[in-house]
Structure formats: structure tokens, C-alpha cells
Symmetry: C2
Subunit: 306 residues, 2 copies
């Protein structure tokens, strides 16, 4: 971290956190690990022109997104975020303001989730803006939730409406960290993933890892207003946007039916609506509507900005 | 980590490590943390055209350097590396071979230091190659070594000859992980840093953090052959290269004089020569030669490729 040009600036602005023993500013940061809980680690890189348009988003929202996508990956395992490190390649032509706005965005989201930035590496270069965040967290006593635990008969849920995130949601979403922890404390989650490639593609990741299939009910899939709006320009249906669009950053949650009944009855998660959109079956990925059941191709992520 | 295109490829090639419970391939990797030892975390980003010239270095050496600079930051705290995550922005025009060679380089060095790659995020974009590695490690029972522990009267040592690293050493160095652990187990290290900005600049980081000064003895500073070679083109003296050049990636080690005497007598670290180059004093940074003692400006890192 020796080239961290903003280390003094950052140190003055990073809240103290009782577990951060050294950081930011030494060669490595030191974080207390007093419990035997496993450590969770995730990393995500955002690249200008591919993951965001800097002129459209502005640096503060890019900073917010860079922290939020990592928090969402932590949420997808039902992990408790502990600390983050950030490495940045700044366009040489950009001023100090770009870096400061970027860090303010990172910090706003980090603060909201008690996640101090404990170290980093800031560089200038002739390329576009490149930012990589790595987040560490801790598993709860209920354990980390993998993608691989879905079972035939389980119910498939999502934590919010889907589609059209390119119209703004992909920059301004709130990662479902608290909701995932509340859910997992209430009833064991069998499998979970956050939607970055699209509902069909990410559900398929769960199915491949778990060795089962799923049927989605078309009429139950919650469609975001943005998906309807985008549909008017794109020629695709709002449902297609909900099934295919990337960067919704909601969670796909797979639980046993009896857990779901309790969830519905007791509503342990405040502030969000959980949608029941399908069930796990022996194999395949299917979409069911009034016409019957059709195969749903698990289309991959489309680089919609690139 | 949802966009990790090489996840299958990487998973097939990543050695099992008994502490890696999940990874690579889920949203976050899970690493067992069975001891109460603090967790160390460090991150370093390498950028094409600034930290390396891709055509000169080749992708495998870039991968090696990306892992090695992080291991060196871990060494500087006397930490034991545990696992790494890697995020990469690949030039869209480059083929799959670039990514594979990059990962082979990362893996070669990771394997040599029992550090599995447990996760990552691979993206393509229109920018140049950007690679960020984050390394986690564990403190030993002797504790992590900060920059801030140097005391007046301590001796200043370096772990190898300095200067001229641009001629090749900056790509091919071996991080001093084992040596730092051997040293710290043998005698308490008061302060340590790896040389990335240059001897004078990085020693100054220790002095600022510790609130003391140091005198270096010019005749004791070990000068690399590359510094002499570079001197013939640059018009600077070999000593100036040893004092100023970045990316030597040797360690500056500060210990009590009595520890140093034992080190000299017992030579607990195999394979390297430790050089005694100066002492800590109350304040200032000084260079002593036959002409007497002059102030040594703590010149900062120069982006020598940019």
C-alpha cells in the first residue's frame, strides 16, 4: 500500500472500529479476529465504460456502487461485513476531486454498513477509471450460505422487483445485507445468490451448484417500473427484462416450504417484500405461464454498457 | 464474483488448502479462522504502462509481480499469508491466452508461498490491463510488525542490494516472506517496511510513524549491479540509485542493537545477507560519508515508467 496518496486524508475520515488494530496506512492492515467464525472474502472490480459511464454516474455514485456490489456478495452468503480495502487506478488527467468524491461514495456506503476502509492502493495512469474493492466479513453461527444447498421441493424467492436496472437502479441499489442476516437467523437459507447476471442466469448458477432444477411462475415474478419503461424502447417485454437484465442486485433466496410459510406468517424482515416466484424440481430451468411450461434458457450476462 | 469468466479454469488448477472451506466460485470465499490470531489484509494494484510495460514483461511476469508485491507487504508486517483474491480488467482486444498466462504467473508465486487464490473477478474492457490482488494473512504469536516501533539507538538493516530495479528486478524479485518470519521469530523486530518508493522515502515512512530519525552510512549501503549499470546511462551515481529507485522490494528492518549482535553471530536467516546500514537517532534523516553528515531528503516515489 506504499503508493496510497490519500492515506492521510482517508485516515482522518475513517471511523474507528474496535476490531481494526492497525490501518489504514501501514503495509498491511490488522483486524482482530476474536471468534472462531470463518472469514468471508469477496472482491469486485468496476471499470469505466463497461460497468458505469463516469459522466452519467459521477464519481460519488461510482464509489457507492463499488462498495455496494461487494456488500451484496457478502449478503448473498449471509455474512457480516467487517472491513474493506480499495485499490484504484485514477485517470492521470483527473483532478484530486475525482478521488475524493469516489472515496466519499465508498465511505457513505461503508459507514451505513459499519464497514471501515482499512487500507488501499491509489495509483494514477493513462487508462480510464478502474476501482477494485475487497470486502472481508464473518460468518454467523448459522454458517455461510453457499449456492449449492437448494433441494427439490424448496421454494424460490426474490427480495425485490426486477428488470431495467440500467435506468438507474444499478447505481443506487441498497445491498441486502441486513435482510439476508435477518432471514438466515429466522430460518435456515438453503442457497442464495445476488442477481448480477440476470434472474435466469443467476438462478441457474444455484441450480448447477445444487444439482437440481427449478420452475418459475411468470405471473409471480415482480417486475420493476424501470423494466416497463425500458420495454417501451427496447421492444422486449417487461418480463424479459425482469428475467434477463443484469445488475438488479436483489437476492435469490431458496428455502424449505415450511420456512417460507413461517416467513409469510411472521414477516421477520422489515422494509422489503419477499416474492415467491417458483419451486425447485429435479432438473431443468422452466418458465410456467397460461400456455404451460417452457424451457427457460439460462442466458448469460450481457455487457449492456460495453 | 459473478463475472468471473475463468472460474472453472481456476478451480481446476487451484490447490486444495485445508483452510479454504468454500472457494473459488461462490459469491464470497470462506476461509477457516481457527486461531484468535489477528487477520492481516493488504491490496496492491498494477496498471499497464505505469507499473509495467506489457510487451516487455509479458503477462506471466506481470502475474508473478502482482502476487509478489502483495506478499512483500505481508512480509513487511511479518505475516503468514493465507489466501488471495484477484480482480482483473483485461483489454477486450486481448485473447484468452493473456488471462491464462497472467493466472499462471499469479499461481506460480502463490503456490511457492502456500497461498491459494480463493476468488476473483475477471472483466473485459476497452482500457489497458489492470490487475488488483488482495492478500489476507495471519499474525504470528510474536505479533504483526508495524512501521511505528523504531526507537532511538536501534539499528537499521536491509535484506539485499538496492537500486536499478527497473532493469528487471522489479519483475523478478522474491518477496521476503520467509526471511521476515525467521527474523521475527529469532528476535523482536521493532519496525519494518518494504522498499517500493525507494530506500530514503520508505525509511522516512518508518521515521514519521515512529517519531524518530536515522543516520545512514553511505559506505554501508549495498549497491546492486543493476544500479551501477543504470548509472552509466543516467548520469546519477550508483548510490543515488540505491537511495532513490523504487521497487527494490527488499525489507528495511529496524531492531535493537543487542538483537543485531545475535543476528550477526547466529545468522538465523538462510539464503540472504543482512546489511547494517545505519542507526536511529532523535530526529531527521541523514547520510554520513567521508565529508561528514548531510541531510538526506526523503524524496518520494517517482513513476519511472509513466
Amino acid at each position: 500500500m506504499a503508493e496510497f496518496a490519500f492515506i492521510e486524508w482517508l485516515r482522518a475520515r475513517t471511523p474507528t472500529h474496535q476490531r481494526v488494530l492497525i490501518g489504514p496506512g501501514d503495509d498491511t492492515a490488522v483486524v482482530a479476529w476474536p471468534t472462531p467464525a470463518p472469514m468471508l472474502i469477496t472482491t469486485d472490480m468496476l471499470l469505466e465504460g463497461s460497468c458505469f459511464l463516469l459522466a452519467e454516474a459521477g464519481p460519488r455514485r461510482v464509489g457507492r456502487k463499488a462498495m455496494s456490489v461487494n456488500l451484496s456478495d457478502m449478503a448473498a452468503m449471509a455474512g457480516v461485513p467487517v472491513a474493506a480495502v480499495v485499490s484504484v487506478g485514477l485517470p492521470r488527467s483527473a483532478g484530486r476531486e475525482l478521488a475524493e468524491e469516489l472515496y466519499l461514495g465508498l465511505r457513505e456506503v461503508g459507514d451505513a454498513f459499519q464497514t471501515p476502509i482499512v487500507g488501499g492502493d491509489t495509483n494514477s495512469w493513462d487508462g480510464p477509471l478502474s476501482i477494485s474493492v475487497t470486502l472481508i466479513g464473518e460468518a454467523t453461527p448459522q454458517g455461510a450460505v453457499p449456492r449449492s444447498g437448494a433441494k427439490v421441493g424448496d421454494w424460490v424467492m426474490v427480495t425485490g422487483a426486477l428488470g431495467g436496472s440500467i435506468l438507474g437502479h444499478h447505481l443506487d441499489f441498497v445491498p441486502r445485507v441486513r435482510e439476508a442476516l435477518q432471514l438466515h437467523a429466522f430460518a435456515p437459507i438453503h442457497a442464495m445468490i445476488d442477481i448480477s447476471d440476470g434472474l435466469a442466469a443467476d438462478l441457474n448458477h444455484i441450480l448447477v451448484a445444487s444439482g437440481c432444477g427449478a420452475v418459475l411462475t411468470a405471473s409471480r415474478i415482480p417486475i420493476a417500473d424501470a423494466a416497463r419503461q425500458l420495454s417501451q424502447q427496447s421492444g422486449k417485454s417487461p418480463l424479459q427484462h425482469a428475467l434477463r437484465d443484469g445488475d438488479d442486485i436483489e437476492l435469490i433466496v431458496v428455502v424449505a416450504p415450511e420456512s417460507f410459510a413461517r416467513l409469510l406468517a411472521e414477516q421477520p424482515v422489515s422494509g422489503i417484500v419477499m416474492y415467491h416466484i417458483g419451486e425447485c424440481v429435479a432438473s431443468g430451468l422452466w418458465l410456467e405461464d397460461d400456455q404451460g411450461r417452457q424451457p427457460l434458457p439460462p442466458a448469460g450476462y450481457v455487457h449492456w454498457l460495453g
